[in-house]
């Protein structure tokens, strides 16, 4: 039934609205970014000077804020790798083992991921508020008054506070992802191993992990994409402050472009973020390379 269609007019009618919108407002700006990144271009004037790779050179060799921002993104990434992946794996494994209330737990854990990051950011700004915040109320209640600070206003606590929020926001997504992966492993594997007397830990170590490996890699790639692209949470909670202590690459990009109108330089930063995401994802896939277990 799938024959080559001679009359392409219906095909054109079906496809052209999508192609036109997608090409004009998605592909074109994405491609143009690689070109605009080569110009020095300030303000909305038409005066742009071709400067080649100078914007990139400036970013990499002459811009401490960029390096600070990159470090903060890497902090998001590393802490998430250490906390989110193992915790999500643990929850997914436990929830897959017929624990009472498994479906309700899954539903509760996933919910933060469905809320707007702006709402999450505002909610947690309240939690961290120095005067009426939940966190300080808790610390005061425990008799730890000296620990109660203005979490988002202090250079030392602001970034960890936002990273904790991002973990609260995203953990459920990884639980659901891994849980679905575990559930697609045939139960007979577990049953056979149980009969042979394998403990829960052995089941996890020798059945779940190898058979889940591809999904685990996918989870790591998602984590890289999410943490290097972090913007809304930081922008709403601190705008990158106090004095750049929570700036990420994208909050810096936003300020460069839309408060300083430094378009060429900001776009170069966008290209750098894109390349970093790709590079780090490829490296981690290489590091996680293993023989695929077919089943």
């Amino acid at each position: 039934m799938r024959r080559l269609h001679k009359d392409i007019s219906p095909i054109l009618v079906f496809l052209s609205p999508a192609i036109i919108l997608y090409a004009a407002f998605f592909i074109f700006p994405m491609m143009q970014a690689f070109y605009i990144a080569l110009f020095r271009w300030r303000g909305l004037s038409e005066n742009k000077d071709f400067v080649g790779l100078q914007n990139f050179r400036g970013l990499l060799f002459d811009d401490p804020i960029f390096w600070m921002a990159l470090k903060h993104n890497l902090a998001f990434l590393v802490v998430s790798l250490i906390v989110v992946i193992p915790l999500a794996l643990f929850f997914a494994f436990v929830l897959s083992r017929r624990v009472a209330g498994a479906n309700s737990y899954r539903a509760v854990y996933l919910f933060p991921n469905m809320i707007s990051v702006v709402a999450v950011a505002v909610l947690w700004s309240f939690v961290y508020n120095v005067n009426f915040g939940l966190l300080n109320a808790f610390l005061n209640g425990m008799g730890l008054e000296e620990l109660a600070v203005g979490w988002l206003g202090e250079p030392n606590t602001a970034l960890p506070a936002i990273i904790a929020t991002s973990i609260w926001y995203s953990l459920g997504f990884y639980v659901v992802l891994f849980l679905a992966g575990i559930q697609s492993i045939p139960p007979s594997f577990y049953e056979a191993a149980s009969i042979d007397g394998a403990s829960h830990f052995q089941l996890f170590r020798h059945i779940t992990i190898p058979l889940l490996w591809e999904i685990l890699k996918l989870g790591v790639v998602y984590l890289i994409i999410h943490t290097l692209n972090i913007f809304g949470l930081v922008w709403v909670m601190t705008e990158g402050g106090p004095s750049n202590h929570t700036d990420t690459m994208l909050t810096y990009l936003y300020r460069l472009a839309f408060t300083e109108s430094n378009f060429g330089y900001a776009t170069a930063l966008g290209v750098v973020v894109f390349i970093l995401i790709f590079g780090i994802a490829l490296i981690s896939l290489r590091l996680m390379k293993r023989e695929v277990v077919e089943y």
Partner: protein
Amino acid sequence: MGRGRKTGGSALRVLAALPIQVVLIVYAIIVVYPMIWLLSASLKTSYELFTSPWLPTPSPQWQNFVNAWQIAGIGRYFLNSVFVTSLSMFFILLIGSMAAYALARFVFSGRDAIHTAFISGMMFPVFLGIVPLFLLLGRLGMLDNYFGLITVYVAYSLSFTVFIMTGFFKTLPGELAEAGLIDGCSQFAVFWRIMLPLAKPGLITAGIFNFFGIWNEYPLALIIITESNLRTLPLGIANLLMVEHYKTNWGALFAGLVIVMIPTLLVYLFFQRQITEGLTAGALKG
């Protein structure tokens, strides 16, 4: 820990599961408690907020919700978001499934290239093209109006929608379309009356994820909309946080946040199954 299903009585298993249940409940509390606290805070006066952050208030201030809706502008932002989200979703689903239908059902030269171009869009981060997009919209007079915002939302959602819908249309039997054509239907009538209704589960999945994507969307709205009357909910609530720092009408802000989260909660509860399946379907097939 319990040794599987064969050994031990059920009492023993329950006992063994106890530490696990404790861990699960602790994390559930970490997730839920801030929201319960928010709900209780939204009914307090600013004074109570500072003096008794833990206890529920004896006299709920429902007025906070009226203030949030009317004075703080949440009502307007809410309706703006309803308008933008529903119109965007209508066009995304229509245009996206038309394209997906053509890509799934017809064989023509360039088909694979077009399909790949759509799918690979999911790799590009929003911010890569944000400056060129901003300049383009400025030149076309599409900044600070819904025409621009909705057009951008549709364009940015096509990758994902075409991906989901193409997969779906491929599973539908082509004979049905052939039969419709033989009966004298036009190609568009076949699509609209026969194939699209059959693709309803796909439309629901694509619809749910586009709903969350657009209802929650922040960075694109931030660069496109500056006029305060046009703000969507995420813009409005973010702005309120900054403004309320100076006005200290906290109760209304808490109430506003509750209002923001209610539609999300309702859609989430209603489409729970589709959401969990949809989140992972792409991943597991890939």
